[in-house]
Symmetry: C2
Subunit: 299 residues, 2 copies
């Protein structure tokens, strides 16, 4: 039913018989039911000198990593550590500057230093997957699950988070199971989709992305800062659930399982704004902006 409505709406708009709604107009007309509040238990704050980066964790895709990151945050593992790496058109990464030194590195407390990889997951029918029918260079299927960009292979019955701009992952060494969440990175450039299913993604940035993307690039190998003075200190990493309500950044994100979502994607695909003279009629997974706004009601 939702699909039929979206189809009729799209047909009307394409025929030019109705006002051609832009994506901004579709968001304006959305109702509270079109939005999903981010659970405090899944919200991670990276507190930097210049402000707060807000991330949503994805326990549906990386349950063990998310649980481990919650433990690390609760035990203040990250507080006082630093942003170590800013590689242009790729990633910003933070963690323990002394991670290679057994005598100096920070203890992980009751968390795990390493975890089995969570590169992909089974694809049960119960998951609210909204397909993006425009195709993809890397995977047989792409779409969205609860506001996360995902790719999948129905033949294998596997689904995974996709490395789009703003996605957050757990850095690892050569061994696939050498990550765990003590080093986290954020994608700050063109989607490095070759990393999909090679490293565990754990969530995405919802707010404050520019605090990471505009950092000076590191000039050591892989964009690591070769001078320790260039590292950006981390004041704290906290789970929103552990922060007093008055200090939280309450956010909500557009649901991706609604007719509003389909109309929004369609507006981005066909770009009916006056400025566009040759809309492509297609849209690629990582070029769909995922709307986020301040929560309109408190939970």
């Amino acid at each position: 039913m939702k699909h039929a409505l979206a189809f009729i709406l799209a047909a009307l708009l394409s025929a030019g018989t109705a006002h051609a709604a832009s994506s901004a107009e579709i968001l304006e007309r959305s109702t509270p039911a079109d939005w999903r509040q981010i659970a405090p238990e899944n919200t991670l704050y990276l507190e930097l000198p210049a402000g707060r980066v807000v991330m949503e964790l994805a326990p549906d895709f990386a349950p063990r990593h998310v649980a481990n990151i919650r433990t690390l945050a609760r035990e203040h593992y990250f507080d006082g550590l630093a942003v170590l790496r800013a590689q242009d058109n790729y990633v910003v990464q933070w963690g323990d500057p002394a991670s290679e030194d057994p005598a100096q590195r920070r203890a992980v407390g009751s968390a795990q230093a390493r975890l089995p990889a969570e590169f992909d997951r089974a694809w049960p029918k119960a998951l609210l997957f909204t397909r993006l029918p425009d195709g993809d260079v890397y995977a047989p299927r792409v779409g969205h699950v609860n506001g996360f960009p995902v790719a999948g292979d129905p033949r294998l019955g596997r689904l995974w988070l996709a490395h789009c701009y703003g996605m957050v992952g757990a850095g690892r060494d050569v061994a696939p199971d050498s990550g765990g969440g003590t080093e986290l990175y954020v994608v700050t450039g063109h989607a490095p989709r070759h990393l999909d299913r090679n490293v565990t993604l754990v969530g995405r940035v919802l707010q404050g992305m520019d605090l990471l993307s505009s950092l000076p690039r590191g000039h050591g190998p892989l964009g690591f800062y070769d001078d320790a003075a260039q590292r950006l200190p981390i004041r704290a990493v906290r789970l929103a659930a552990d922060v007093p309500a008055a200090e939280r950044s309450a956010l909500e994100t557009l649901r991706t399982d609604t007719a509003t979502w389909k109309a929004y994607v369609d507006a981005r695909r066909h770009r009916r704004e006056d400025w566009f003279v040759q809309p492509t009629g297609h849209i690629e997974l990582c070029n769909v902006p995922l709307p986020v706004r301040a929560a309109t009601t408190t939970p």
Copy 2:
């Protein structure tokens, strides 16, 4: 013949019967003939307080815009103007802060203030197009021409530059012919391919990209700096041909019409480095890094 060689090489590597060459190894083994020096007449320097951004202009795709930008540079149009806009995951743009004020704006001298759009071009067989066979969400064909990422439609017989990271374009207003090169932008985020064929691309950044991509983001509409003090002054924009040889940044780029290029792309597609456990076997147009290095010989 080149294709057959590349195929045999790929087959050998896939079968694991030969050492699996990484893209770095392929570049190390390249010969001088695999590289193309950038012509000084097509090299534009954006001189910022923190250093130089080097761009290659694309007269094959935007001949009138490129000629106009050469004139603007030669008549010092840009000197003393400013970076006006830095929109996260999108573009950085520079031009005349007073462009909207007829009494204050800078005169374009013998250049043109506006030019007919050069959104795409005819696709003659003489052009050295190397197809990327991995497919594309936006266009029936993609590949490379002289080191530039391009998309095309054989049915229409049209070819155009693609909005990948680092591409340089001529900003315009709502009218398609309202650009001309007085305002230039650089893509600093995930490829905004919906802009393809909607705005004239004129070249790409070869060096110094991080001087633009790491700028503080503007917080006005569209990422314009809402406070004039945030604008970054431009010391000068000069054509390399007008700069004394000793002050030039002589660069060369990997040719995209060689067996080396095909082997390089194949290595990026199959990622045979130890770190990768599930290479995708695909590569997307804007995820192919275009190698640039200091020129090994002087012209």
